[in-house]
Symmetry: C2
Subunit: 369 residues, 2 copies
C-alpha cells in the first residue's frame, strides 16, 4: 500500500538483485526507516527483534533469509544450518515453519548450482501468493461493504468501520486481511472512516494501524479500547472488521485481547461484525474455540509500562502503575461464533460455522476428525 503516495510492500527485492529490503517496524510509527537484509544473519536478526512481525511477513522474511543463505553458500550443510538458524528466531511461529519447509522441499532436491535461482524464485512466489490471498480477501469483503454502504441513507458522508489491533499490510506482504477490505473499499470510492482501537497492551492500533491509514490517506480516529461500545450505541459504527490468529472449526475466532468485548457491543447494537482471515489460519482440529484454544499469558511489563516518544523525540517506556504492583497480561481472547456476522476469506464470504467454513473449504471435511 502507499506511504505518502509511493506504493510499498513490507518486504521487496533490493535493486542490487540479491538483497531484500524491509521497513524497520521497531521504529514505527515515529520513524520510517528502510533496512536492507544482505545476509542470513540480517534476516534472522530482523525476525527475532521484530523489525518484521505478523505471521505472513515472518514467513516471507524467512524465505528471503534462505535465499540470502544460498547466495552465501549453496552446500547442504549450510542449507541445514540456515534453516535451523531461522527456525530458532520465533520458535512458535507456524508460518515460519511452513515457509521454510516449502523452501527446503525445493532446495534439497536441487543441484547446488541451481539453488540460488530456485531460492529467490520460491521466495518471490511465497510473497506473491500472500499478496494474492490478501487481495482476494479484500475483494470478497468489498462486496459486503458496498452492500452495506448502499443501504445508508442518501447524503451520508462517511461509512464508519471499527477495527482492533493491526491486521494490515505491515503484518503481511501487502494489503493485510481486515485492512485489505478497508483499502479496497477506499480505492472503490466508498468514503471510509476508520475507528482505530489503540489495542492495549502493545498499542498496535495506535502505532501501526493509525500509521498505515495515515500513510495511505484514509480518514481515521484513534480511540481507546474502552470507547467502541459507546460509539456503537450511538450509531457511529457501521461495521466492525478484525483479523484473527486462529479460527476454530465451529467458527469461534481467536484474536487480540478485547475483540470479544467489541463483538458483544456490535451484537447488542445490531452492528455487522466480520472477521477477515486467510484459509491456512483455520484450525480444522479445533472444534470448540472458546473452550479449546489456549490463551498465551505474556510479561506483565506490557501492562505496567507504555512505550512512546518523549517531548524531546526519544523513544522511552514509562511505568503507569505503582512500583511492585501485580499485573496480568492475557494476549488473546476468543469471540464465540454466535457473535460473528460472517467471515471474509480468500475463497469468499461465509457464516462463522462449521457448515459455513466447509462450504468454502469442502476438501477439509474429513480433516482433523
Amino acid at each position: 500500500m502507499k506511504v505518502n503516495g509511493t506504493p510499498y510492500r513490507s518486504i521487496w527485492p533490493n535493486k542490487n538483485g540479491w538483497s531484500a529490503d524491509i521497513i524497520d517496524q521497531t521504529r514505527l510509527p515515529h520513524e520510517f526507516i528502510i533496512k536492507t537484509l544482505s545476509s542470513l544473519q540480517d534476516a534472522a536478526e530482523a525476525i527475532s527483534v521484530m523489525r518484521v512481525r505478523g505471521a505472513p511477513l515472518i514467513g516471507a522474511t524467512a524465505a528471503y533469509g534462505l535465499a540470502l543463505a544460498m547466495h552465501e553458500d549453496t552446500t547442504d550443510e549450510y542449507l541445514e544450518r540456515a534453516v535451523k538458524t531461522l527456525l530458532a528466531t520465533r520458535p512458535t511461529a507456524v508460518n515460519l515453519r511452513w515457509a521454510l519447509s516449502r523452501m527446503q522441499q525445493v532446495l534439497s532436491v536441487s543441484p547446488a548450482g541451481e539453488r540460488v535461482t530456485k531460492a529467490y524464485a520460491m521466495a518471490t512466489k511465497i510473497c506473491d501468493e500472500d499478496v494474492a490471498i490478501n487481495h482476494a480477501i479484500g475483494q470478497h469483503a468489498l462486496g459486503v461493504i458496498r452492500d452495506l454502504w448502499q443501504q445508508k441513507p442518501a447524503g451520508t458522508e462517511s461509512f464508519h468501520i471499527l477495527t482492533h489491533c493491526n491486521a494490515g499490510w505491515l503484518a503481511t506482504v501487502d494489503w493485510g486481511t481486515a485492512l485489505s477490505a478497508i483499502y479496497q473499499a477506499y480505492d472503490d470510492g466508498i468514503p471510509i472512516h476508520v475507528w482505530v482501537d489503540e489495542t492495549r497492551p502493545r498499542n498496535q492500533g495506535a502505532a501501526l494501524t493509525a500509521w498505515e491509514l495515515q500513510s495511505h490517506g484514509i480518514e481515521h480516529d484513534v480511540i481507546v479500547d474502552n470507547a467502541g461500545g459507546h460509539l456503537m450505541q450511538h450509531g457511529q459504527v457501521d461495521m466492525v472488521i478484525t483479523g484473527t490468529d486462529r479460527t476454530a472449526r465451529n467458527g469461534d475466532v481467536c484474536n487480540k485481547i478485547g475483540t470479544y468485548l467489541k463483538a458483544l457491543a456490535a451484537f447488542d447494537n445490531d452492528v455487522p461484525f466480520y472477521v477477515a482471515l486467510p484459509g491456512p489460519t483455520i484450525d480444522w482440529q479445533m472444534r470448540d474455540g472458546v473452550n479449546g484454544i489456549p490463551i498465551e499469558k505474556r510479561d506483565s511489563v506490557e501492562v505496567t509500562h507504555v512505550t512512546g516518544k518523549t517531548a524531546t523525540g526519544q523513544i522511552e517506556s514509562v511505568q503507569i502503575t505503582p512500583d511492585g504492583v501485580s499485573a496480568s497480561n492475557y494476549a488473546f481472547d476468543v469471540t464465540p461464533a454466535r457473535l460473528v456476522t460472517g467471515l471474509f476469506t480468500e475463497r469468499g464470504v461465509c457464516d462463522a460455522s462449521e457448515d459455513g467454513l466447509l462450504g468454502l473449504y469442502p476438501e477439509q471435511a474429513g480433516s482433523g476428525l
Copy 2:
C-alpha cells in the same frame, strides 16, 4: 483507609488546629506526599490543578477552603470573594457548588465573630457525612458480597471482583463507593482479589485504584481494559462493582468510558454487575440515560499520550501514535439498566429501575416530573 498500616482520610485537619492536610494526588502512584493547605489560595490551587479530585473530595476541599478564608478575614466581602474564587476552580463540578452553598447558608447569617468556628464545624460535618454515606454504601454491598461468597464451592481460595476506574477513598473523603464495598468485604474476612481495569485514557485504575488496594493490603492484579471479557468468559470474575457519575431515573448508569463493555461481558457470562452510588448522584429528571445523558468529549492528547515514570524516575508523557494523528476522546458511556444487576446506595440495595430507586427514595416520586 490504610496506607501501609496507617489509617488516612483524603483530607483532614492539620495538627495546628486550622490548616487542612491532603494527599497530593498529582504525585500518585509514584510518590506519597502530604500537602498542607493554609490559605484560601492553597485550597483553590489544590482543586484546580487536581491535587484533589473526585466530586465528594472536591466539595470537602472547597468547604475547608471557605473555612481557611474565614481564618484570614471574616468580612462579608471576603466571604463572597472566597466563594467566587473556589467556584471558578472547576466550573462544572456539582459537589463544589453544593458544598459552597451549604457553607454560605450558615456563614451568611452568622455574625463575623462566629464565622471561623462555624465554618470549621460545617467543613467537618460535610466530611463526616460523606464518610457516613460511603460507609453505609459499603455495608449494604457487604450483604450481597457475603451471599455470593457463601455460594462459592468449599475450598474456593479467592472471591474475584472486577472494578473499572477509581471509585475509591481517594475520590471521596474516605471509603469510596465501589471500593467501599471491597474494603468492607475484605475487613469482614472474605478473601477478596480485585481485577483492576487500567482505565484508559487517564489510567485511574492503574494509578489510583491499584495504589489504594496495594496500600491497604488487598490482593489485586492490574489488567488492560481489553481483558475483562476473557476473564468473565473463563469464570475468573465473581462480581463486577463500579461507581457512577450520574444515575438516571430509569436505572441507566453513566460512568467512565468502557463500563458498558464490561457490563455486556458480565451479562453474557452471568456475572453479577453492581453499581455503587450515593443518593445525590441520582438525576431524577433524567428519564432515559442512554439517550439523554450528554457525553463529554475531552482533549485527544489523553488518547495520543500516556503519562508515567521513566527509568530514571522522572514523570513524563510519551506519544504512542504517529505525529499529527486524529484521535477522539469520549470520557463516559452509559450502561443500560437491563445490564445492571443492582445498585448499592447508602439506603440499601435496589434494582436498577425507577421502581427500585423510588423504593429507597420515595420522597423523590414527584421530583423532576
